[in-house]
C-alpha cells in the first residue's frame, strides 16, 4: 500500500532521513517510535509529500508519487491527522468535515453531511457539529480532526504524533477512538507516537527510528520483551511505565 524506496531527505545540510526503506501492507497498523529528531515525523510526512524526499521513490497504492501528481495521489489515497489538529478555525465542525468531500470528492452536500454525522458518531461528537473548533478542548478537536480524515474515506490515514499536544487527561479519549478505528475499519494506519500502550493494543508492527535510520522493527511484543538494540532498550525503559 505504501512503499518508501531508498528515501533520503536533507534540510539544508542536515541529513534527516538516511536511506529509508519501508513497506506498509494494506490494512496494516504500523507504529513508528523513536526519540525526537529521529526523523519519524519526516518519514510519515514523506508518505503524503508534505515533505518531498531529496532522493528516492515513494509509492502509494501502486502509484509513484511525485511533485507533479502529489495533489491527486494524496487526494485519492491518504488523509492525515496532525499533532496540532489543524482544523479550519473559520468553519464550523460540520463545514470542516464536509469541505473536502464536497469540493474534492464530488459528494453532494447531503451525502457529505450524512458522512460527516456518521463519523461524528464514530468519534462521539455528533452534538458538536455546529460549533467552531476553538470552542472545543484539545482532545475533542483531535477527535474532530480524525473524523475529518475519515470523511475522505481514504485507504490510508497517517497520524503524526496525534496525542503529543494534548493534556494528559484528554489523551485517552483520542487513543480510544484510534483503537476503535484500528479494530473496526480496514484502514491502513501509520502512527507516529510515544504511546506504547496503544502500540501494544493495535500495532501489527513497530518501527524504531533514531538518527534518520530504522534501527529495529518487529511486533509490539518483540519490543516489550526483548529488543535487541541497546539504544532501543534505553529509549523504551523511559517511555514504558
Amino acid at each position: 500500500m505504501i512503499k518508501l524506496d531508498h528515501i533520503n531527505k536533507y534540510f539544508g545540510d542536515a541529513h534527516v532521513l538516511k536511506d529509508i526503506n519501508l513497506e506498509v501492507k494494506e490494512g496494516e497498523k504500523l507504529v513508528i517510535i523513536g526519540p525526537s529528531g529521529s526523523g519519524k515525523s519526516t518519514t510519515v510526512r514523506c508518505m503524503n509529500f508534505l515533505e518531498e524526499p531529496t532522493s528516492g521513490h515513494v509509492y502509494i497504492d501502486g502509484r509513484e508519487i511525485t511533485g507533479k501528481n502529489k495533489t491527486k495521489v494524496v487526494r485519492d489515497t491518504t488523509s492525515m491527522v496532525f499533532q496540532q489538529f489543524n482544523l479550519y478555525p473559520h468553519m464550523t465542525v460540520l463545514k470542516n468535515l464536509t469541505l473536502a468531500p464536497i469540493k474534492l470528492h464530488g459528494k453532494s452536500k447531503e451525502q457529505a453531511e450524512d458522512l460527516a454525522y456518521h463519523y461524528l458518531d464514530v468519534v462521539g461528537l455528533r452534538d458538536k457539529a455546529t460549533v467552531y473548533p476553538n470552542t472545543l478542548s484539545g482532545g475533542q478537536q483531535q477527535r474532530i480532526a480524525i473524523a475529518r480524515a475519515l470523511c475522505a474515506q481514504s485507504k490510508i490515514i497517517l497520524f503524526d504524533e496525534p496525542t503529543s499536544a494534548l493534556d494528559p487527561e484528554t489523551i485517552q479519549e483520542v487513543l480510544d477512538v484510534m483503537v476503535k478505528l484500528a479494530k473496526e475499519e480496514n484502514i491502513t494506519m501509520v502512527v507516529v507516537t510515544h504511546e506504547m500502550g496503544f502500540a501494544r493494543q493495535v500495532a501489527d508492527r513497530v518501527v524504531f527510528m533514531a538518527d534518520g535510520q530504522i534501527i529495529e522493527e518487529g511486533t509490539p511484543e518483540h519490543f516489550f520483551v526483548n529488543p535487541k538494540n541497546d539504544r532501543v532498550k534505553k529509549f523504551l525503559s523511559k517511555i514504558i511505565r
Binding site: N48, F82, Q84, T135
Partner: protein
C-alpha cells in the same frame, strides 16, 4: 470678487457644477479600474512572495521595491511621456489606470503577503494533506482566514489610490483634482478658490469616508464571527 466665500464665488461654482460632477465621475471610473488592477496585482504578486520558486520570489521583491521606492509622479510621467516619445500612446485614462494600479498593487502585494504570512503553516499542510490544489487551498482555507488581516490596510490603500488620482493632473487628466484646478485658474472661471476646493474636498470625502467606515464595520463583524461569537458558544457549552 470680494472675499473668499463670497456669494458670487459660490454662484460660479454652482454654475459650473457639471465640471465638478464630470471630474467626480472620471475620478471614480479611473479609481475603480485601478483598484481592480491593484487588487489583482496585489494577490498575484503577494502570493509570489510565498512561493517555493526563487524566480517568483525575486520578481515579487524587484516589483515591490522598485515601485515603492520611486515616486508615483515619475512612474506616470515615464508611462505617458517616455512611451509617447517611443511611439506608443496609451491615452490619459489608460495611463492613469495602469500607473495607479501598478503603484498601489505593490502596496497591496505587501498587504496580502502579511495577511497570508500570518496564517499558521498547519493550515497550509492540512489543506495539502486533503489534496487541495493551490487555488482551492487559497480560496477555501487561507484567504478567508487572512481577510480580517488584509481588509483594513487594503481599504487604506484603496482610499489612498482614490486620492492619488490627483497625479493625473501632470498628464492633463480630467479627474476631479485636475478639473478643479483648471476651474480655479481658468481665464473665465478663475478666482473662486475657496468654494471650489471645498466642493472638491467634500466630493472626495463623500467617497472615501463611507469606504473606511464600511471597512471597519465589516472588519469588526468578521472578528465577532469567529472571535466573540465562538466565545459565546463556549459559554453556552459550559453551562
Amino acid at each position: 470678487m470680494s472675499g473668499l466665500f463670497s456669494e458670487s464665488a459660490w454662484m460660479m461654482v454652482w454654475n459650473y457644477r457639471d465640471t465638478f460632477i464630470l471630474g467626480f465621475i472620471n475620478t471614480l471610473e479611473t479609481s475603480i479600474a485601478a483598484i481592480i488592477l491593484s487588487l489583482t496585482l496585489g494577490i498575484v504578486i503577494g502570493l509570489m512572495a510565498m512561493s517555493t520558486s526563487k524566480v517568483l520570489r525575486t520578481i515579487n521583491r524587484v516589483y515591490v521595491e522598485f515601485i515603492q521606492n520611486t515616486p508615483l509622479l515619475l512612474q506616470i510621467c515615464v508611462l505617458y511621456y517616455a512611451l509617447a516619445f517611443s511611439g506608443y500612446k496609451l491615452g490619459i485614462l489608460i495611463t492613469g489606470i495602469i500607473s495607479l494600479g501598478v503603484y498601489h498593487g505593490a502596496y497591496m502585494a505587501e498587504v496580502f503577503r502579511a495577511g497570508i504570512g500570518a496564517i499558521s503553516k498547519g493550515q497550509f499542510e492540512a489543506a495539502d494533506s486533503q489534496g487541495f490544489s493551490y487555488i482551492g487551498k487559497m480560496y477555501y482555507i487561507i484567504l478567508p482566514q487572512s481577510i480580517k488581516i488584509i481588509l483594513p490596510p487594503s481599504v487604506n490603500q484603496i482610499v489612498n489610490l482614490i486620492k492619488n488620482t490627483a497625479v493625473l493632473y501632470i498628464i492633463g487628466g480630467s479627474d476631479l483634482i485636475s478639473l478643479t484646478y483648471n476651474f480655479v485658474t481658468g481665464a473665465t472661471t478663475g478666482g473662486a478658490y475657496a468654494p471650489a476646493y471645498l466642493v472638491c474636498g467634500a466630493l472626495f470625502f463623500l467617497i472615501c469616508f463611507p469606504l473606511s467606515t464600511l471597512a471597519s464595520i465589516w472588519e469588526s463583524n468578521l472578528k465577532k464571527k469567529d472571535g466573540m461569537g465562538a466565545a459565546k458558544e463556549k459559554k453556552v457549552a459550559e453551562i
